[in-house]
């Protein structure tokens, strides 16, 4: 049987009267990069945000349906959203490092979640995370420098290091490369491919080529519906649904 990390059934999301996600079922695999694609306003980011309950912070937002990670209902009242977000990390569109040192940016999460018993534990987590984020070599001699002083691509990799420092199992990325140049984009994409060894990565992207390059599974959203979900190869060579074909080939849907 396939190893499903995230299992969503009959998910509905409403912003007030606006029905933003309509009855979405999806099974996301572990150690796989899954890309969400679709035009603006199709619900892909909204759906991504249901996976670590980021929508909880929006008052008018209502989520229905069943979302399970490792079989556990993440909307169960007993679940602490803060703990959940440590397990389901997130990287945003614009690099948003804390106005702190590079070291503290990475160390913050493990500190508040009590993942380090002492300073040397913490040092180790910081180094490991920066190495995984392919930033260690560039940052090791300036760990006390402010994170905001790094270049855009480095800042985004710092945010990825920060997200993986709490040892998450799932990494959600909302257009992580949209503010980066092609070289920084290639570095982040390379990193995403490496992260796949340890995590389930879900990435929202407007770049179809990026989805094709980094993901193994692709989900196409349109008007709040999950239109098609399958192997990335298949979606980009011979999709089943004419709406998917129209969208990926740059036609009006």
């Amino acid at each position: 049987m396939t190893d499903y990390k995230i299992s969503a059934k009959g998910v509905q999301v409403y912003y007030g009267d606006n029905h933003a996600i309509k009855d979405v079922d999806v099974q996301i695999e572990d150690k796989t990069v899954t890309a969400f694609i679709g035009p603006s306003g199709c619900g892909k980011s909204t759906f991504l945000r249901t996976l670590n309950r980021m929508n909880d912070t929006i008052d008018i937002c209502r989520v229905e349906g069943d979302i399970r990670i490792d079989g556990e209902d993440i909307y169960d009242p007993a679940v602490d959203p803060v703990q959940l977000r440590a397990k389901v990390g997130m990287v945003f569109q614009k690099p948003n490092p804390f106005p702190k040192s590079i070291y503290d940016n990475v160390a913050y999460g493990p500190k508040i979640h009590g993942l380090a018993r002492n300073k040397s534990d913490l040092d180790e987590i910081v180094e490991k995370s920066l190495r995984k984020a392919a930033l260690w070599n560039e940052a090791k001699d300036r760990l006390d420098a402010p994170g905001t002083g790094l270049s855009g691509g480095q800042q985004q990799r710092l945010c990825i290091a920060r997200a993986i420092a709490t040892a998450p199992e799932v990494l959600l990325m909302d257009e992580p490369c949209s503010a980066l140049d092609p070289i920084a984009t290639a570095q982040v994409e390379e990193l995403i491919d490496e992260l796949r060894q340890s995590y389930s990565v879900v990435i929202v992207t407007h770049s179809m080529q990026q989805a094709a390059r980094v993901s193994q599974k692709t989900a196409f959203f349109h008007l709040g519906n999950l239109v098609e979900y399958g192997e990335t190869d298949k979606i980009f060579t011979n999709p089943e649904d004419p709406r998917t074909e129209s969208y990926i080939s740059g036609r009006i849907g």
């Binding site: 179809m208 060579t237 074909e245 129209s246 740059g250 036609r251």
Partner: protein, 234 residues
């Protein structure tokens, strides 16, 4: 299929499609005129067919360049990509068919010096006519994305193969009857074999159209009728 948001992309694809149709038309013409010139032993008409092959070759070059440019600039996916990949293969098949027509015209000038072999000219013209009809239909199938028509063309290659088998036997007979027929029969046989190969290439084009539309190559075996590889003289 809807239009692309970028209308320049549609114009690029339409331009390539127009080039394929132009090339296809010229090749059809070359087959018909080549077979006619052969039957009439008309050296001048054959020369026109030979010269026209240069235009066909130039069109293939142009299609290759346009397709490469569109792939580089537009990063096509899915059906657009399949269309461009198919266009490259269609152009290459058309170029080969054009070469065979040119070869028929070349041999015409040699054959004009010899006594015709009873009835075989007309049989070759019929074979050429059938291949030209298949080519016309495969180009229609390409423009209309018509899988059924492409499949129909694919099945019709059997008839061309059977015509070739019959001619092959006739040439053998004529050569055994009178060794002075051998030179003409050898040339005529090469022409027949080349027309049979044209049929195979048109069949490949039909398969390419099916791939372009459905994303899958037809896998079931099509009927194959060239039995000459195991024919003996009795």
């Amino acid at each position: 299929m809807n239009e692309h948001i970028s209308s320049a992309y549609d114009r690029d694809l339409e331009k390539i499609q127009a080039l394929i149709m132009k090339m296809g038309g010229l090749v059809e013409h070359a087959i018909l005129e080549g077979a006619k010139a052969l039957e009439a032993r008309d050296i001048e008409a054959a020369e026109v067919v030979r010269k026209a092959d240069k235009i066909i070759d130039a069109l293939e070059e142009e299609i290759n360049e346009e397709a490469a440019r569109t792939i580089a600039l537009r990063a096509p996916v899915s059906k657009d990509l399949r269309t461009l990949l198919s266009v490259l293969k269609l152009a290459s098949s058309l170029e080969r068919v054009g070469d065979y027509a040119k070869n028929m015209a070349k041999r015409t000038s040699v054959l004009a010096e010899m006594k015709p072999i009873n009835g075989t000219d007309a049989a070759l013209r019929r074979m050429g006519k059938e291949v030209q009809a298949m080519l016309r239909d495969v180009l229609d199938a390409y423009v209309r994305s018509d899988v059924d028509l492409a499949e129909n063309v694919r099945q019709r290659d059997l008839e061309v193969d059977q015509m070739y088998n019959a001619l092959f036997r006739e040439f053998l007979t004529f050569m055994m009857e009178d060794p002075r027929n051998i030179t003409a029969c050898m040339h005529m046989h090469f022409i027949a074999k080349n027309v049979e190969r044209m049929g195979d290439l048109v069949t490949n084009m039909a398969e390419q159209v099916i791939y372009m539309v459905t994303g899958e190559m037809p896998d079931e075996d099509r009927p194959k009728g060239d039995k000459t590889s195991s024919m003996l003289t009795e």
